[in-house]
Amino acid sequence: MHYEAPIREPLIKGDKSYHDITVEVARPIETKAPRSWWLVFSLSLIAFLWGVGCILYTIGVGIGTWGLNKTVGWAWDITNFVWWVGIGHAGTLISAILLLFRQKWRMSINRSAEAMTIFSVIQAALFPGIHMGRIWMAYFVFPIPNQFGSLWVNFNSPLLWDVFAISTYFSVSLVFWYVGLIPDFAMIRDRAVKPIQKHIYKILSFGWGGKAKHWQRFEEVSLVLAGLATPLVLSVHTIVSMDFATSVIPGWHTTIFPPYFVAGAIFSGFAMVQTLLIIVRKLFRMEHYITIQHIEMMNIIIMLTGSIVGVAYITELFIAWYSGVEYEQYAFLNRATGPYWWAYWSMMTCNVFSPQFMWFKKLRTSLMFTFIISIVVNIGMWFERFVIIVTSLHRDYLPSSWSMFSPTFVDIGIFIGTIGFFFVLFLLYARSFPVIAQAELKTILKSSGENYKKLHE
């Protein structure tokens, strides 16, 4: 009953028992942090605090502290927002879509990928908040009666759809993640010896005991949540892209945006998962669970989605030419050859060219190469959003108002601050949460564990 074809590589390496999985997943929580953890944590914390300072400065003085001008009214803030939301797509994709497709390799990576999702959506949500200028008015985005009478929100607006999409995505991803965490917290609780630790995990584990009926409901809840999260994850970046696509700016007003943005989001999300997991597997010695095969699978997804993004770029160019609209044609010509040509070609190189190396098995199974490409891809995806936003805006219909955008130290500081904040959250998570969904992983040990597979032969 635990049979799996021998042609499939084992997903759990080494001679493991259920108890070994318990011990190895609990180890990072029960032992002292390595020195490298403290080093990265300190750096991230400094970056985070610098970002907090820049955000407070923005709130105190206003968004005049940013490099925006009359022509370029959206720049780094929205670029960063879309970039972070995009990164936040891989986690739920891995845990929901791969669950529906019964891809068992998701089990040792979904926990961290979902954590990454939640932490990056937090970063993303910061930007529309502070871009409002008057953040204390942020509740105006919710459909609640306000002090001017019942002037409601505008349900026709994609910006409002975004509010609903991001809030739903964040909160549903959070409960999806948490429901999966409960049995693992229970495992940590039952092993904990220090009273404070035991108490914390007692609270976090909700008293989980693994009763048969509870597991039955757990599996049903996971399946239904996956079914709900699958269209949800696709809807979020679709709606983000509608912020642009429903406007009448040349370069934005295109129907290809929703699928193109979703592919780009999965692309950058998987790249960030690679960056983080290559570090996690090394730092916490998870090589037996996050194997080269896992890295390779994700590289194949990066290659596929990167190619989809490439096709989308070329389609955009073709449609701009084919439309016969001269503003549209100019917008794209200006992207590739105008003053922001370097951003455009960085995007093309990083997103379309670099993932093509993954056709070679030697390269896609190399950790160092994967790590480099994963960072290159995320740089490229940041440039993609910058290109879409800034180069479409900076030369509008009236040449006398053409301008350029240059970021101030506040723009840069807030961006660096969110990277710091993201890593602060992720590093804290990696030390206090079970980084692998061990309960779920134990269910495949007998079918996909290396030692058990040998027994079948």
Partner: protein, 181 residues
Amino acid sequence: MSSTTDHKVIINALYDDDDVLLKGVKDVRAKGYHVEEVYSPFPVHGLDHAMGLAPTRIGTAAFFYGLLGLSTAIAITYWMMIVDWPMNIGGKPSFTWGYNMPAFVPIMFELTVFFAAHLMVWTFFFRNGIYPGRKRLNPDPRTTDDKFLMEVELTGDREELMTLLKETGAIEISEKTDQNA
């Protein structure tokens, strides 16, 4: 929640393998005993069937929660955009909900998912009786690691049940007391 009452004696049988446990559950039930509960570190495939548990209805509940979310979205968009304060936005029709509906599809979708997911998870917590700070439900802490615990109600001869449990491959057999309840 202690299930031990004056007239009911529960025997705990501990296993160290999911396949042995599953066979044990089947054997014990085949002999006419009632399996009270099984605690396991992970979901054992086929265990609910072997124990004779009814299928869970939580998925059906989620469907109705989703319908509730969809109705909520229709109600608020209708009330806010059509009845209470219709606004002319880009010349889009604002006098009937039907003509304006395409613009509300994202909201309808998101609220359906929001209600279905959250209310289902709340139901999951409520029906399981789990909440932050709840005393652990598993009597033996090893059952979240690599051990499996079966609770069998004692009916008939004690020795007979003990022998049966031993035959099924249980590694530890004990009577459930208040300490390990």
